[in-house]
């Protein structure tokens, strides 16, 4: 049994410690946010927060994240009460197929928690590890800027 702290809850999972966190989140905990895009740490669709850092859950074995605070997309807000970043993405309609968006949102959260007033260059650099194939980049950047406004206004 491995103990994980996911979105503020303690969860015990019966999984091989070598299992990448992604499959535990999806398979054992039925969370949809983190997605399989490559399994190689190249695309960022699987991004979650571990102690506030953006991490590729597809190459992070649960072995190393035991007892550490893990936040997924689901931990940032719900349909009834979306978080600031989620709301910004809705407001900017920043999605086409939407598959990459959870990773973008989580990575944005990591950025803004540390740097609530990033420059355009800083945003681009922060998101560079996440790929979007549909070409939604411009809207994603606008959504991040919009979310930053919320953080700056203390509304996040």
């Amino acid at each position: 049994m491995i103990t994980l702290k996911v979105n503020g809850q303690t969860r015990n999972v019966d999984a091989d410690p070598a299992t990448p966190l992604l499959y535990v989140l999806r398979d054992h905990l039925q969370l949809n946010g983190a997605k399989y895009g490559c399994g190689l740490g190249q695309c960022g669709a699987c991004t979650v927060l571990v102690e506030g850092e953006a991490v590729f859950s597809c190459i992070t074995p649960i072995l190393v994240v035991q007892e550490r605070s893990i936040r997924t997309l689901e931990g940032l807000g719900t349909a009834e009460h979306p978080g600031a970043v989620q709301q910004a993405f809705i407001d900017e309609q920043a999605a086409q197929c939407g598959y990459c968006i959870p990773g973008m949102i989580v990575r944005t959260q990591a950025l803004l928690e540390k740097n609530p007033a990033p420059t355009d260059e800083e945003i681009r650099k922060a998101l560079n590890a996440s790929l979007c194939r549909c070409g939604t980049h411009m809207r994603i950047l606008r959504a991040v800027r919009r979310a930053a406004q919320s953080f700056k206004a203390g509304k996040a």
Binding site: M1, I2, D16, P17, A18, L40, G41, Q42, V50, E51, E53, A54, V55, F56, I59, T60, P61, L63, V64, V65, Q66, R68, A110, L111, K114, N115, P118, E121, E122, K125, A126, N128, A129
Partner: protein, 451 residues
Amino acid sequence: MRRTSVEKPPNLSAGPKIVARRALALVGAMLFALAGACLIGQQALQAQTPSTRTVSDPAVVAKGAALAAIGNCASCHTAEGGKTLVGGRALDTPFGTVYSTNLTPDPDTGIGRWSAREFRRAMHQGIGRDGRELYPAFPYDHYTRVIEEDADAIFAYLMSHDPVRAKIPENRMIVPRPAVTFWKSLYFKPGPLPPDATHDAQWNRGRYLVEGLGHCGACHKPRNALGAEDPQRALAGGRIEGWSAPALNAQSPAPRAWTVENLTTYLRTGFDMQHGVAAGAMAPVTQNLATVPEADVRAIAVYIASQMRGARPAESPTASSNPASETAQVAEDAVPDSFGAAATGTDGSAVYKSACAGCHERAQRGIPLSLSTTITDATSANLVRITFEGVTPREGQAGGIMPAFGGALTDRQMTALAEYLRKEIAHAPPWSDIEREIAKARDEQKGKKPS
């Protein structure tokens, strides 16, 4: 002077470094020497006619471009996110911060008024157009070996650019320029390299490039307290921006001996399957060398390989003999062994097997770590940094991607992993600097704006 900040991969930035305590002690000595140095000031050359953008022979410009790539001019003379060769990059030294200059032919803010002769003097003697000393962050201790014809070609190449008007920030050096004269008197030996008749033309070409434009020793040689390369310890290894530049001589820590072929591949592509990836400050070097005629890169490889002769490879018994054998297969081998629930996150073996082996024991993905200099090097600096930051190829170019593990691993897990790799894969004596390098690497990450 310790020079830092070659063009970095995107996730490093130049932030001001803390001035070394030793340096402060030396300032006193410098200021004393200053008094003497002031008496030996250089004069500006006779006023030259300002040059405008020159139209030169395209063949000369092309040659200059290749030479400038070997010299890595753009790496220092381009600010992060800035336009090429316009300068403004902060170069941190223990004696303060110096900003690289604008090398475009703008008459007021660039080299537009320079003559070829003045450019040669800068390269060969470290003197600016107005006669003042240049800080040896500009490695004229190497460029002094560049022959006139090559310096002229580089000058023609620079002058062929569009002039860009750009004011660069003021330097923040605690050592005034005239003190450099003193430094030069101790450590600077201007002049070309006499050819070595005991070696062939290719080797000599390689030496000319390595010891001259390539200024490999600027990173790959240890420096003394006053920041000068130690001439007695040729290519014995050094440090640059936190990374280790491994020894390229008989002390080379590479588990498998470098061949000329391997080196040429590595220098041109940034990767060799038998040795590893060019990371940190070395990445832009190989990106530049990719644009240089292969013959020159091969010559460099010949010379470096010859310097490494005598190195005893520490190839571990676990190194696989032919890691890249399966060309046709979609190679998805190397399942991490399952281990019991007792395995914890601070079990280095478990961390390696579950987080690293998936790529590093898979053909055509990461290299087998038994072949990597990173874990046989004298310091854990590179292992820590590569693990934390990953490897990112140049935008749009095919090349190995290693994800960053800095967020996934705690300091204790990194320590356990490093100890495991050092002991069980490198079979080398333990590092003493793991925790220190981890702390430094974490600071380096924080020093940049977070991502």
